[in-house]
């Protein structure tokens, strides 16, 4: 029964979005096999005459934006081909939104939010309104919660295992005589303008949003409008408390996690948020209207407390600071400045034969954004620019037989496409006790900060993974937001065993994903560790097992041709050479902090001459 009730929720949310014209961006979240695609198909059925658009995951920028092509040849045909997919669309669905390339995602969201589309018509660029509803699906396990934020409404699909149930979902939503048939939606649409919002309900809605910790003020209006749509479905003339409560699930819950992606509570955060949130609601129900204003303040306080990251634990010895330490940190940072320069400009070990990590721009085949037109040959010819180039010569040339135009080889113009510049760097940082005890963490943090600064100036994207105790945690997904990176870096907790294998595994997973999403991007991994693995992927193994496991994964990283540098946190005489061994297994570069220092000294001496 629960299952069906769950799906009822999803259906009602979708129905509300269909009723209200301004609820135009809806996210459908669910696991594999929860019927997300079926629901999308059912949604498409509601739009019979209007233009329906399905955005494939591999959509190119040209298909989204439209492309300028010559219109003299065959007007109608080419017009439709070169125009944006979204032109005059009324309903847009994307089943595999998470698999789209980041830039396509941004572009699609931008276009839909601005509600404007620039279209080439008769070779002239003009702006058309884009008034489409957009439904997109996301995987429940999708780590990147940032994709949720595009949605005004988010509905969750609970798992459905039986085929009969599945077909029932489509029936409910489909054309038939189900609960939310076209007729029902249509009638609700007519009732919608007459649904009133009592002051008390308005206040309730806003207080819910504020107290949920959702920073997005847009949620206010979305919540009220969703409640109105639900009321219209229920034949109510004004919205009631239950509508607000119901709407809040669709509108507020997915926006709550936005600002508190605490690294330790990735998966659990959404459920705890929800629980807390429902508890809030129930608490509210018990209060009388007079008490409302009084209790709000104290509630807010308690929220502020609970909202804080639960993972602030760090070892006291990390805070303790002896005077000599500061000096060493400074020295370290200065030396790493030099090393960073070496790290970021070297190009000797590039598996794809790209020259260095920062190219001006590079051609990326069929995908990517056209930057400019070149006469050097590339994958895609630009018909428009070729004809433009040939045009001035038309008077003096004679066309070849059977040809209307006289186009020579030198007129050929090609598209120079490019994707993001800069490089993608993943820092894999050992945060175990062995680092913490010797106060190495401070040095390591200083070093990473320096690398970050370098990366910022070069428009690189960086990610951060730490491993300690029994697991590896992705502290920061790839980003170019450096103040965020800095904040996360400062909050790193330390202590516990060294699950090097788990860390490497996580790094491998992230890099493979990045390579898949961004074909041109070669993620570069910087591992900061002493190489002393003593915890297995499944906790409880011996140190020897841990080390074997780590080397095994290191070899698969090497097989993926991912460039790696290992920075050894051990220095001086009592070095075990474990990090060096690890670097060998990874086919990576080994860097000792000692060498860095020497290089730094040489540099200084040279500068003084």
């Amino acid at each position: 029964m629960d299952r069906i009730i769950g799906q009822m929720k999803a259906k009602r949310g979708i129905a509300a979005a269909l009723v209200h014209p301004s609820l135009d961006r809806v996210c459908i979240v669910g696991n594999i096999g929860t019927g997300k695609t079926t629901v999308l198909e059912a949604i498409l059925d509601y739009f019979s005459d209007e233009k329906k658009v399905t955005i494939p995951a591999n959509v190119t920028a040209e298909r989204l934006l439209g492309e300028r092509e010559i219109t003299l040849l065959s007007k109608n045909e080419i017009d439709s081909l070169s125009q944006s997919l979204l032109y005059q669309a009324k309903i847009v669905v994307s089943d595999q939104f998470a698999l789209m390339r980041k830039s396509s995602q941004t572009m699609l969201v931008q276009l839909l939010k601005n509600k404007e589309l620039q279209v080439y018509k008769n070779s002239r660029l003009s702006t058309y309104p884009l008034l489409a509803k957009w439904f997109y699906c996301l995987h429940q396990e999708e780590q990147d919660r940032s994709n949720l934020k595009h949605a005004r409404l988010c509905v969750r699909m609970s798992p459905v295992f039986e085929l009969s149930d599945r077909s029932r979902i489509s029936k409910f939503l489909g054309e038939g005589t189900g609960e939310y048939s076209k007729g029902v939606i249509q009638e609700a649409k007519h009732r919608l303008p007459h649904v009133r919002v009592p002051e008390r309900m308005l206040r309730l809605a806003i207080e819910i949003v504020i107290r949920s910790g959702c920073k997005n003020q847009e949620a206010d209006i979305d919540l009220v409008e969703t409640a109105r749509a639900l009321a219209a479905l229920d034949f109510c003339e004004s919205i009631e408390q239950r509508h607000i409560e119901e709407a809040a699930e669709y509108v507020v819950s997915h926006r709550m996690g936005e600002h508190q992606e605490s690294p330790t509570s990735e998966d659990s955060s959404s459920t705890t948020d929800e629980e807390r949130f429902t508890a809030d609601l129930q608490e509210r129900n018990n209060q009388t209207a007079d008490e409302e204003t009084k209790t709000v303040d104290s509630d807010k306080e308690s929220h502020a407390r609970t909202d804080k990251h639960p993972s602030k634990e760090s070892f006291p010895n990390e805070q303790v600071d002896s005077d000599g330490m500061d000096e060493e940190v400074e020295r370290m940072i200065a030396s790493l400045n030099v090393q960073a320069e070496l790290l970021f400009t070297k190009n000797k070990r590039n598996p794809y034969n790209l020259n260095g990590k920062h190219q001006e721009s590079r051609s990326v085949g069929g995908n990517g954004r056209t930057i400019r037109i070149i006469s050097r040959q590339s994958e895609s010819l630009s018909l428009h620019h070729t004809l433009v180039a040939a045009a001035p010569f038309m008077k003096v040339r004679t066309p070849r037989q059977g040809m209307k135009w006289a186009i020579e080889k030198e007129d050929m113009r090609f598209k120079w496409k490019s994707k993001r510049e800069g490089f993608t760097i993943l820092f894999l940082v050992d945060a175990s006790r062995s680092i913490a005890v010797k106060q190495r963490m401070k040095v390591v943090k200083g070093a990473i900060m320096e690398l970050l600064r370098q990366a910022y100036q070069k428009r690189d994207r960086i990610g951060l993974v730490t491993f300690r105790k029994t697991e590896a945690v992705e502290i920061l997904p790839f980003t170019n937001n450096f103040s965020e990176a800095k904040k996360r870096l400062e909050e790193i907790a330390t202590g516990g065993k060294t699950p090097l294998a788990a860390g490497l595994q996580q790094a491998l997973r992230i890099c493979v994903k990045e390579k898949r999403l961004n074909k041109q991007s070669v993620p570069y991994v910087v591992i900061v560790t002493d190489g002393n693995a003593n915890e297995t992927v499944l906790p409880g193994g011996t140190a020897a097992q841990a080390r074997n496991e780590a080397y095994r994964i290191a070899r698969s990283i090497a097989n993926e041709h991912i460039p790696v540098s290992v920075i050894d946190t051990q220095s001086g005489r009592n070095r075990f050479g474990l990090a060096e061994e690890l670097a060998n297994a990874l086919h990576g570069e080994y860097i000792s902090l000692d060498i860095l220092t020497e290089k730094y000294i040489t540099e200084v001496v040279q500068n003084k001459r």
Binding site: P129, I206, Q217, I221, H384, P392, L452
Partner: protein, 306 residues
Amino acid sequence: MNNYPFTAIVGQDNMKKALILNGINPKIGGVLIQGEKGTAKSTAVRALADVLTNSKVVNLPVSATEDSVVGTLDMEHVLKTGEKKLEPGILAKANSNILYVDEVNLLEDHLVDILLDTAAMGINRIEREGISYEHPSRFVLVGTMNPEEGTLRPQLLDRFGLCVDVESEKQVEERMEVVRRRMAFEHDQVQFEKGYEQEQRILRQQIQSAQLLLSSVEVNDDLISVVADLSIELGIESHRADITVINTARTIAAWKQRTEVQAQDIYEAAELALPHRLLQDPLQATSSEKLTMVLNKKIVENKWIV
């Protein structure tokens, strides 16, 4: 689709002020509006066009191409007549207008380069297949962005005259009013706009009279030296900062129907024109506190009355 009336925007006074000042005096050099989603950033910029009489807002979408920004050859014309003819781009339309870039931090790097180039020279040069042409392109750059989605290149940051941070409203009553107005607007746009006609007209007149007054606003040398002093103390290298503060202060004076800049105008102007120039270190979070501290110190030193 009609724009939401500028005067109907609840709160966000700093943002509205910065936009109006730019509307009065294009020499201020634009404004960057930073803030979370749903804080009426885009709405305010789009609405600005309706209260300005002599300039409009030209939109530069993130999805723009180099061709559509710079301009290109009108190929149909070329092929039909054999004559070259330029098809102007967004930069041509933006000349002596407001160029609005939504989500400016997501703008692709090569477009940012073009913007910087044009903004520096005030001229857009087109070098395309056998055509070479240039036209003036002086625009007021207005950008909005959500800092959580990425940072802005320092060079571009410096191009913005003013910078305001917007936050979501914390007062329940105010937020209720936002929703009420929004719903009324969605319900019946024509009726809603009628309700704000009067206010819109008054604002339009205020802006116009400030524009007329602007040229006669004077700044005495003491205040100019205070501005220079302030920049030195804050460690701001760019001279554009000083000029912007003074220009902004003059505009504020004109807006308040005065012909003389007072200390409080400088204070207000500094609050708008300096915060983003303090960000010398990209890894440092906001330094607005530092600014407020120094400003307050200056007040005490100079015995300003604000």
